[in-house]
Amino acid sequence: MAVEMQEGAVDLTLKILLLGDSGVGKTCLLTRFAHDAFDDKAASTIGVDFAVKRMSVYDKRVKLTVWDTAGQEKFRTLTSTFYRGAKGIILVYDVSRPDTLRHLEEQWMRELEVYGTESDAVRMVVANKVDVGEARRVSWHEGSDFARRHGCLFVETSAKTNVAVANAFEELVLKILETPSLLDDVGGAGTVRLDAPAASTVYEYCYC
């Protein structure tokens, strides 16, 4: 289904955004996904970080640009400017910290309502750190209930022990590809870029 690809032409470029409280593991999820590695000595993300990952889904060559944002609340004024044009939103919480799930509801979802530009953007709730064992404080049910209430996909992952991380991203991409309205509006904010020879509009960034 979804296969990794090397450099080369791509059919679609999708912008994916990682959101969630500080320290829930956004950077680690991304490192696991993009480089299949776990770095227990990762520094806090300040501002925003990026990774690019290519995959092949449904015979389409897809390039994901994953935006990894700072989780601290103080950075909201900055990070909220990154929402524009994101086709997929991954909301991450930490299963050992119930407050991080609560904040998804109280803060991050609201941010998204205000700043998100793609009303159809696919949302996914990711419950990270399921490797913690008895330190777990949020059950699968609580997480999936929350996701269902907000119409989000739901996956439990562990970046550390590599549980379902790639699946999460793949599922998200599949869902995006199944949502035609997301793929039509190429003129949006320049995140879906048709680099295929047929497509002529390549730089849509100037629309801002």
């Binding site: 520094a43 990026f50 400017t81």
Partner: protein
């Protein structure tokens, strides 16, 4: 699983690192040597081999340490807990404990086995792979930062490789000349600084240009900490405010010990926890120390608890009203009250600030504990700012060169002193709610770039790459987040003497130097190249060249104009919007 725990008290100053307090349990290895609380990084090659770090560069496997005498320290997995806590998240724990040299070496050995590659400690104290891997993938955070351009033979830096090989021909005499120059420089700096740095301000007044020139050439490593402390204005603050840091830096888990001390010395019962401090205690769930915590910071304060309720504030100290209020609310010997959310956000970052540096890598070790005390004290001192990610890196760099009290006041000087833009508000605007200083800096940077690197600026404009996407941590950490240490130190010499415009200069010089390489890249490649992890690839090979390029750029006048522009833009959008504008929103 450490059984004995030392309270590595953060205020341990240069002078008394050797002095052990009675009643403290200490872990030492078989020959009794303990890891020094602070690693003194060796000089930029000039006075190499001074610090312990220089010696430790050989792989640990070469040293057949008595591995079984002490349990090896697992990779940060074991937190040194002194009590059973109901909270299992180690980030909520207040750091305590220390790490001996043997443990460090054992830890290295374990890491090597796990990762199947040799590790070493570079001369700045970062744990790095012995042989850099070809691939980028698993190469973590700071490791390559520390291996930027220094003594490390960076396998990746292909262009630089032939140079060292060519050296030996004329190398000998050149090397000697360099050493002589370093010694001479050191002598001049000693003279200029005077006793405890007391002469520097006078020198600065008399010969400002000469001092500037000398700073730009690089401060000698052994004097760097003191020079930073004085140049930034931190020392003046420290001397004007005796005892303030001691009062501010009492940590919640020091309270018990401080109370016991008070009780013992005054014959009274320990004070009841007051309402204000209660939430803080709760937040740190059960982190109260069981050992005799060396409440060195708090101990002197409660000498006379009968009088004032709060901590006495030295007169004429030039403190903010908010700081004075915070101090007034602080009972002597007790941790000053702090919003639990702020407290935990500081703790959460302790383990994520220079996590590959030997001083900071151990969970709840001396480095993290010192970092916590400085950041917590600052958050109390300046409640408007509290704690913002990025400040930790500022404090951490300072802590590698000075003790906690000096680092605290230097941080205060950076935040509120003359280092910021001309409006006199210091760098705190970068961190205030809404980050008005950051928004302004990004705006200024965006408009300076086309003047100095027009091709790259045009490319970025077309690709939609805003400074907000790559330069946030340049400003927020004054490059401490992304520059390799050899470069960073030279930049900070100038930054702490001349202020924030240095950050602009370095950022612009860096992009200018890399313009040819970057100007042809599309959006994603641009951002990847500019990311913190790969910034070192764009740098000029030597710190010297980066500094030279940076200082060539004239930015002061334009910065002022652009700040005025920015203010006008804000006003144009209507009052009340201030600071809420889009990041780098250079709407034309």
């Amino acid at each position: 699983m450490l059984r004995a725990v030392v309270n590595a008290e953060p205020g341990a100053s240069r002078g008394n690192t050797g002095a052990r307090r009675p009643g403290l349990v200490e872990l030492v290895d078989s020959d009794g040597s303990a890891l020094p609380p602070r690693w003194t990084p060796a000089d930029d090659g000039a006075v190499a081999g001074q610090g312990p770090v220089g010696e430790a560069t050989e792989p640990a496997e070469a040293s057949p340490q008595p591995q079984q005498l002490l349990p090896a320290i697992p990779s940060g997995a074991v937190s040194v807990k002194t009590n059973k806590s109901t909270n299992l998240d180690p980030d909520y724990e207040i750091p305590r404990g220390t790490m001996t040299e043997t443990q460090v070496l054992n830890w290295l050995a374990t890491q090597q086995q796990e990762q199947k590659r040799a590790l070493r400690i570079d001369r700045f104290g970062f744990v790095v792979p012995l042989v850099p891997e070809g691939g980028e993938a698993a190469d973590g955070g700071e490791s390559r930062r520390a291996s930027g351009a220094g003594a490390t033979t960076s396998g990746r830096d292909v262009a630089a490789a032939p140079q060292p090989a060519a050296k030996p021909t004329a190398g000998g005499s050149k090397q000697r000349a360099k050493e002589r120059q370093a010694v001479e420089r050191l002598r001049k700096w000693r003279k200029m600084l005077g006793a405890n740095g007391s002469g520097l301000d006078e020198y600065r007044r008399r010969r400002p240009d000469k001092l500037k020139r000398r700073v730009r050439k690089g401060i000698p490593e052994p004097l760097r900490g003191l020079a930073w402390h004085v140049l930034s204005g931190g020392r003046k603050l420290l001397l004007a405010n005796p005892g303030i840091f001691a009062a501010l830096s009492v940590l919640p888990d020091d309270e018990e010990a401080a109370a016991a001390f008070t009780a013992a010395t005054s014959g009274k019962h320990p004070p009841q926890p007051d309402a204000a401090a209660a939430p803080t205690d709760a937040a740190n769930g059960g982190a109260n120390g069981s050992s005799t915590s060396g409440a060195a910071n708090g101990a002197p304060a409660p000498a006379g608890p009968s009088g004032a309720n709060g901590v006495a504030v030295a007169a004429g100290a030039g403190l903010d009203a908010a700081a004075v209020a915070a101090l007034a609310a602080t009972r002597p010997g007790r941790a000053p009250p702090l919003d639990p959310a702020v407290d935990t956000s500081i703790m959460r970052d302790l383990n994520r600030t220079y996590p590959t540096h030997i001083y900071f890598m151990q969970r709840q070790g001396p480095g993290q504990r010192a970092l916590y005390s400085v950041l917590r004290a600052y958050a109390v001192y300046d409640s408007k700012v509290g704690y913002v990610q990025g400040m930790g890196f500022l404090a951490a760099v300072l802590l590698l060169y000075m003790d906690a009290e000096e680092a605290f006041w230097t941080l205060v000087a950076i935040m509120k002193g003359p280092l910021g833009p001309d409006n006199g508000e210091g760098l705190q605007r970068l961190y205030m709610p809404g980050m008005p200083g950051l928004q302004c800096s990004l705006y200024q940077f965006k408009h300076l770039l086309p003047e100095l690197a027009p091709r790259l600026a045009a490319r970025m404009e077309r690709e939609g790459v805003e400074p907000a996407l790559y330069a946030t941590h340049w400003f927020n950490t004054a490059f401490a987040y992304s520059l390799p240490f050899p470069h960073l130190l030279r930049v900070w010499d100038i930054f702490l003497a001349e202020g924030q415009k240095t950050v602009f200069r370095v950022g612009l010089a860096l992009l200018q130097a890399a313009e040819r390489r970057l100007a042809g890249l599309p959006f994603e490649a641009l951002l990847e190249s500019l990311s913190a992890k790969r910034l070192h690839e764009l740098l000029p090979p030597t710190p010297e060249e980066l500094v030279k390029r940076a200082l060539r750029l004239r930015v002061s006048k334009r910065l002022k104009e652009l700040e005025a522009d920015w203010q006008a833009t804000l006003r144009g959008r209507g009052p009340g919007q201030g600071g809420r504008g889009g990041a780098g929103a250079g709407r034309r």
